[in-house]
């Protein structure tokens, strides 16, 4: 049932309004940060207020206006969008607190620009989540690309500018391909509205649809860091850590993965994809990415780069889950989209906290750091165990569904991929944890733990990763949202 409501639109607009206010109050840092926090709270409140309705099967829609002949600009909060929207807005609140602490701690320059772009990014991320058709999606997706650029080059060093250039080359090319795809789809169908189960079936000969699918995957695959389109992500790690945390573990890359899920479920539809036969190559590519990125991560000595490769690997879990094309695996994909966000943001927060205090970035020098920063490294241990797939942490739940879906589809090889990658995860995360707690520090770390603004977000996201793996009620809710969107796509009651 579709209900007209202004709330999805307001959720998008709230941080847009905040962006303006942030710019206007650039000379008064406390007021400026207050706008960020207020907007984050308002946005989260709006989205949470939609939750009961969406869980009972209602889809909320904000219809704005016609922007092209036959294509309207509109936002629609359906279960799939809600998962992404909830995660993004919840983590924005946490990251805002963390950002304020971090940016003030390192006395970063141009903080107004930083918070302005951050708010713009969040607006477009929620726009991506709630987009009701491909055009709205494209607009938000491109705004996200552009708004992230000043954040990537925030340090304004030669290295940062070079990284920004690489980021733009990849993402703008992806955006161009997406534009081509959307125009082609519009030419074929005359409509761009997302329909559960897809709307492309029978609109064109299979060969054209295969090319279109490949182009779509290339377009979204850039942000989803699907190999071989991933190279921008590790390079973009020169950005300040909160940017890496929110945008490169949650917003930007997840927008790409989310786009792939949308295109799977709401543009092509599972039955068309099965009959086109385009899925096996994609699944193989995703499996390859999972394993290869994990292996590369083993050899990274810079903590943030190791996390980046871990992200590349984990994102392909989500793509792989979608590519298995069974309801269970798709459910697992959607859940992993959320769960990976909780865990990965914790890890990035920890990396940032370590850097802030000690200016250490390479893993070699982190021996014994857990004795000085027990809370930070404790959270790090929890999140890394979660990513490995230890039971009672949220990573286990989604991986369980992914594995179950693979078995249902009869793809035992993919189960092996999951197991091997889990082992690899363990082997690149656990040495860090081990060294942090059990090795004598090579040099003395004089400073102790952080002030609350930096520590509280770390603890909060770590607790979230535990809660979504251990509290049946939360797991059930998350599963409900995911399975609701799956049943819409597969057309089951």
């Amino acid at each position: 049932m579709i209900v007209e409501s202004i709330r999805p639109g307001l959720a998008v607009a709230s941080s847009l309004a905040a962006a303006g206010l942030i710019l206007a109050s650039g000379r008064r840092p406390n007021l400026r940060e207050a706008w960020t926090l207020i907007a984050a709270l308002v946005k989260l409140g709006l989205i949470v207020s939609l939750l009961p309705g969406v869980c009972s099967g209602i889809v909320y829609q904000t219809d704005l206006f016609e922007i092209m002949p036959g294509v309207r600009l509109f936002f629609r909060a359906d279960p799939l969008g809600m998962v992404f929207g909830l995660v993004a807005s919840l983590l924005w609140l946490v990251t805002s607190v963390y950002s304020i602490g971090y940016m003030r701690e390192i006395k970063a320059r141009s903080q107004t620009r930083y918070f302005f772009c951050f708010a713009l990014c969040l607006s477009s991320t929620i726009g991506v989540a709630f987009a009701g058709n491909l055009l709205t999606f494209l607009i938000c997706y491109e705004v996200l690309t552009i708004a992230t650029y000043p954040l990537v080059i925030h340090n304004e060093t030669r290295e940062a500018v070079a990284a920004g250039r690489k980021y733009l080359v990849y993402t703008l090319t992806g955006g161009g391909v997406l534009l081509l795809c959307v125009a082609w789809t519009y030419r074929m169908c005359g409509t761009l509205d997302f329909v559960p189960g897809g709307f492309l079936a029978g609109q064109a000969p299979p060969q054209s649809l295969m090319v279109l699918f490949a182009l779509f995957m290339a377009a979204c695959g850039v942000k989803a860091a699907l190999m071989p389109l991933h190279a921008w992500l590790p390079t973009a790690m020169v950005a300040p850590t909160p940017v890496s945390a929110l945008l490169h573990a949650v917003a930007v890359v997840k927008a790409g993965v989310f786009g792939i899920l949308r295109i799977f479920g709401f543009v092509f539809g599972p039955s068309l994809l099965k009959s086109l036969g385009v899925i096996p190559p994609l699944a193989a590519l995703a499996a390859f990415t999972i394993i290869t990125a994990s292996i590369i991560a083993l050899y990274q000595n810079n903590l943030k780069r190791r996390l980046a490769y871990s992200t590349i690997s984990q994102l392909s879990y989500i793509i792989l889950g979608a590519a298995i094309l069974t309801p269970t695996a798709f459910t697992g994909s959607i859940m992993h989209l959320a769960n990976h966000a909780f865990m990965k943001i914790t890890l990035f927060f920890c990396a940032g906290a370590i850097y802030c205090r000690t200016h250490i970035e390479s893993i070699d020098e982190m021996g014994g750091i857990g004795r000085q920063m027990p809370v930070t490294m404790g959270a790090f241990a929890v999140a890394s165990m979660g990513l490995t797939g230890v039971p009672f942490l949220c990573g286990f739940v989604s991986k369980w569904h992914l594995g179950l879906g693979a078995v249902e589809a009869g793809e035992v090889a993919l189960v092996f991929v999951l197991v091997i990658s889990g082992l690899l995860n363990a082997s690149y995360f656990f040495p860090i944890v081990y060294a942090a707690f059990f090795i004598q520090p090579s040099k003395s770390f004089r400073k102790k733990e952080h002030r609350t603004a930096l520590l509280a977000p770390i603890v909060a996201t770590a607790i979230l990763s535990v809660l979504f793996g251990a509290i049946p009620f939360l797991i059930e809710r998350q599963h409900l949202l995911a399975s609701l969107s799956v049943s819409r796509i597969w057309g089951q009651p």
Binding site: I67, M68, E142, I153, T157, G176, L179
Partner: protein, 489 residues
């Protein structure tokens, strides 16, 4: 005011102001600028009224001295010419009103001559779009061009060489055009557009008519700076004074494009140029080559205004490509891009004027000052650059979108691919400029934003760029209703 009086007032107000300017300048030089602004705003208001009237009730005709059309000279205001008139007079108004301070600093003593040339340029362009007579078009093309040569020369010593080059090539273009018109006259015995259209059909396959068509296309291609006939454009726009290049860049090339569309589709007829002779296909290819060439050349520039000039060459190519695709979607996209590109280029050249006035910024290397010292101008630069690249929701995205759709509709996926590729090339050179704004510079200099007028103009234009993007459907509806050539599929 009756419709035909509005039509004539659009042209007459700035034209009379052009004669008033020197007189006022002899007495008090400070009256010159207000008179110019008044003349242009009168013209802009009339043009808006005319557009509204035309969209509601259809084309308006005016015959000079009451002589009936084939004998007398006829002017016509239809959707397309009214739209162009609005664009020309309001862009000129914004530029002239905004750049008062920087123009005074640049042209100094010769401010009277400068504004008189501006008014003559604008009234020439307005006369061109209003006229429904082939020879009249030539006359006004020359009025506008001669004032443009003078305006370019106002930029100082190096500008004089650029102006001479512009004069030679521009005159060649005008000569080609006049030659073409002569052939058309020889074939049909008339200069009135509607009359010629009716008589051309039976004689279209004769060499005389074909030669006429060819010469007219070449002449106008020279005037619009279509690659490889763009030689005059970069130097002229770079070395002209900032206010002059901001005035010329958005509207001069567009008016030549207008003349081409008008003559190809209204005089020779849609059937002739799409079916009898494959002119449109050739134009599409020429446009496609110009898009790539212009963008690549823009990428190699180090001078800010020169980069903008080469970018204009690329964008003219995109518009010509859209026209050459010869279907309703692409044509509407091309018309939309004429409007959008005028807004963007006007904004960019005004930014260059502002940056040049406040900090002497001329090259990309200097741009770091723009980033550090001029927050408003910087914001406008971002918006205009994103629109040039075609990032939604700015207006540049939407015109590219319709040209792209038109390419797909015409069954030309290669052109579709090329349009996307040209966006990426545009991104390459604009982000190259934007990168410079983030570069660290140790030196500290004083000074902040540019003059208030320029800041207001650039900010206003950047807001228009975004809102015309979001509201582009309304502009498209007007174009589809009143401005598309008859008989187009």
């Amino acid at each position: 005011m009756s419709a035909s009086r509005i039509l004539i007032a659009i042209f007459l107000i700035p034209f009379l102001a052009a004669f008033l300017c020197p007189l006022a300048g002899l007495w008090r030089r400070r009256f010159v600028h207000p008179i110019t602004v008044l003349g242009l705003s009168g013209s802009a208001v009339c043009a808006f009224c005319g557009l509204l009237k035309v969209v509601r009730t259809g084309p308006v005709h005016y015959t000079f001295g009451g002589w009936a059309p084939p004998l007398g000279i006829e002017w016509t205001l239809d959707g397309l010419s009214a739209g162009m008139a609005v664009l020309i007079s309001s862009m000129a108004l914004i530029v002239v009103a905004g750049s008062r301070v920087s123009a005074r600093a640049e042209v100094g003593e010769s401010v009277t001559a400068f504004y008189t040339s501006c008014l003559l340029l604008v009234s020439g362009l307005l006369g061109l779009v209003l006229s429904a007579d082939l020879f009249n078009v030539f006359v006004f093309l020359e009025v506008a061009s001669l004032s443009a040569y003078a305006l370019v020369a106002s930029g100082g010593r190096r500008a004089r060489v650029a102006s001479l080059r512009y004069l030679i090539l521009g005159t060649m273009g005008a000569t080609f055009y006049l030659l073409g018109v002569a052939y058309v006259y020889a074939a049909t015995g008339t200069l009135n557009m509607a009359d010629a259209a009716a008589r051309l059909d039976p004689v279209m396959r004769t060499p005389t008519a074909v030669l006429g068509l060819t010469f007219i296309i070449v002449g106008l291609a020279l005037k619009m700076g279509l690659f490889p006939l763009h030689g005059w454009l970069p130097d002229a726009y770079t070395h002209a004074s900032d206010a002059a290049s901001a005035l010329m860049a958005p509207i001069m090339t567009k008016t030549a494009i207008y003349a081409l569309v008008r003559i190809l589709f209204w005089v020779f007829g849609t059937g002739t140029v799409t079916e009898t002779f494959p002119v449109m296909n050739m134009l599409a290819w020429a446009g496609a080559i110009a898009v790539v060439a212009g963008s690549v050349m823009a990428f190699t520039q180090t001078d800010l205004k020169r980069m903008f000039a080469y970018s204009s060459i690329g964008q003219v190519g995109l518009i010509v490509l859209g026209i050459g695709l010869a279907n309703k979607t692409a044509m509407a996209g091309a018309f939309l891009h004429v409007l959008n590109h005028a807004l963007m280029k006007g904004c960019l050249f005004l930014i260059a004027a502002s940056a040049g006035y406040a900090h002497g910024i001329r090259t990309l290397d200097d741009l770091s000052l723009l980033g550090k010292r001029m927050p408003w101008t910087m914001g406008a630069f971002w918006v205009a650059a994103l629109s040039m690249i075609g990032v939604p929701p700015t207006c540049g995205f939407f015109s590219k979108w319709y040209i792209l759709l038109g390419a797909l509709r015409a069954g030309q996926p290669f052109f579709a691919f090329l349009i996307v590729a040209s966006s990426l090339l545009t991104a390459a050179y604009f982000f190259r400029a934007l990168e410079h704004t983030y570069r660290q510079r140790p030196e500290r200099r004083n000074g902040g934003e540019g003059p208030v007028g320029l800041v207001a103009a650039t900010t206003g234009l950047s807001l228009t760029i975004v809102s015309l993007g979001v509201l582009s459907l309304h502009v498209l509806r007007i174009i589809e209703r009143a401005a598309l050539p008859p008989g187009l599929q």
